[in-house]
């Protein structure tokens, strides 16, 4: 069955987006990314280490011809820095599909939505296709859609916390009211979290720490691949209703004692 994930002008077969942070080495990043069968991978933009400029780079392992590179603005705490960062990313690789995140503080890494909206307005005006990290707030999600973002990415829980979905009801409300793809970004800790997110009907899941910090990164990558697929299929299949009492699975007539 064809079930294409469309975001902006891009299309994907996989609904799993992976991050490239926190891995112990580049080879593991590559192996786990391949195992995940994801087609889109986030990267961060940072200063080149001038004292050792020639050392190997992430993109020696993650081929931009094979993957859609999604540059992020991780670490930015205001709109200006986020915009500068993505302008640089677009120049470096020609990438126009970007992940905007503007953070509020270092302890929660919750988004600063005021600065996020400001940055989104500028980036959209400059022709970027903005996938935007935000709170699980349906009003802010709608505002970001109205600003012109091509996908809204509410957090499930704080970045790197692995606590699953704090507020599945809000995620569902955001999805039900959205006209752009909704991606759960941050908080997914294990496969069941990913499946539950997809069962809510969201369009994709963005996962980094849960894979990179697993004991076996590649095995967790395949678990996430399968969980995203399973959750998506379950959503499309339409789940049974929940009942207060039992409902026999075998026929309740034709018993031998009747």
């Amino acid at each position: 069955m064809s079930d294409i994930f469309k975001v902006g002008t891009y299309t994907f077969n996989s609904r799993l987006i992976v991050g490239s942070g926190k891995y112990k080495d580049f080879q593991t990043t590559k192996d786990a990314t391949e195992a995940s069968e994801a087609e889109m991978i986030t990267v961060a933009v940072r200063r080149v280490n001038i004292t050792d400029p020639g050392k190997e780079n992430l993109l020696d392992y993650i081929d931009p011809k094979k993957y859609t590179i999604l540059p992020n603005t991780a670490g930015c705490f205001n709109a200006e820095d986020a915009v500068r960062t993505l302008r640089l990313a677009r120049e470096a690789g020609g990438w126009d599909l970007v992940k905007l995140e503007v953070l509020g503080d270092t302890e929660t890494l919750y988004p600063n939505v005021v600065e996020t909206i400001k940055a989104a307005e500028t980036l959209v005006a400059e022709g970027f296709q903005v996938m935007v990290y935000t709170n699980d707030d349906p009003i802010v999600a709608r505002t970001l859609e109205e600003v012109g973002c091509v996908a809204v990415m509410p957090l499930g829980n704080p970045i790197g916390s692995g606590r699953g979905l704090a507020n599945p009801f809000n995620i569902r409300v955001i999805k039900q009211r959205a006209n752009v793809p909704i991606v759960v970004d941050a908080g997914i800790g294990t496969a069941s979290d990913a499946a539950k997110a997809m069962e809510l009907g969201v369009d994709a899941a963005l996962i980094n720490t849960a894979i990179a910090e697993a004991n076996d990164e590649c095995l967790m990558a395949t678990a996430m691949r399968d969980a995203v697929r399973a959750g998506r299929s379950a959503y499309l299949a339409g789940r049974m209703p929940k009942r207060a009492f039992a409902n026999a699975s075998s026929p309740t007539e034709g018993y031998i004692w009747d």
């Binding site: 991050g19 990267v43 400029p53 993109l59 540059p71 992020n72 990313a89």
Partner: protein
């Protein structure tokens, strides 16, 4: 023309002999790398590195992609 000058490169003062952005990139051995440069807060397209002179006190950010989520 071979005099070195001091610029701000990635937040640190650095003395360079390069007179243009393309020469700076070559001096650092980064010609083959997927990088981008911001000169005094403006991104410079790669095609313009050759014609972009360096001046004393220029503030340059030279970035690349690393792992991130």
């Amino acid at each position: 023309m071979s005099d070195s000058m001091t610029i701000q490169l990635n937040g640190e003062e650095r003395s360079v002999s390069a007179q243009s952005l393309s020469a700076l990139v070559a001096e650092l051995g980064l010609e083959q790398r997927m990088i981008a440069i911001e000169l005094n807060l403006e991104v410079v397209p790669r095609s313009q590195y050759g014609e972009t002179p360096l001046k004393v006190g220029d503030r340059i950010e030279l970035v690349h992609m690393i792992g991130g989520g």
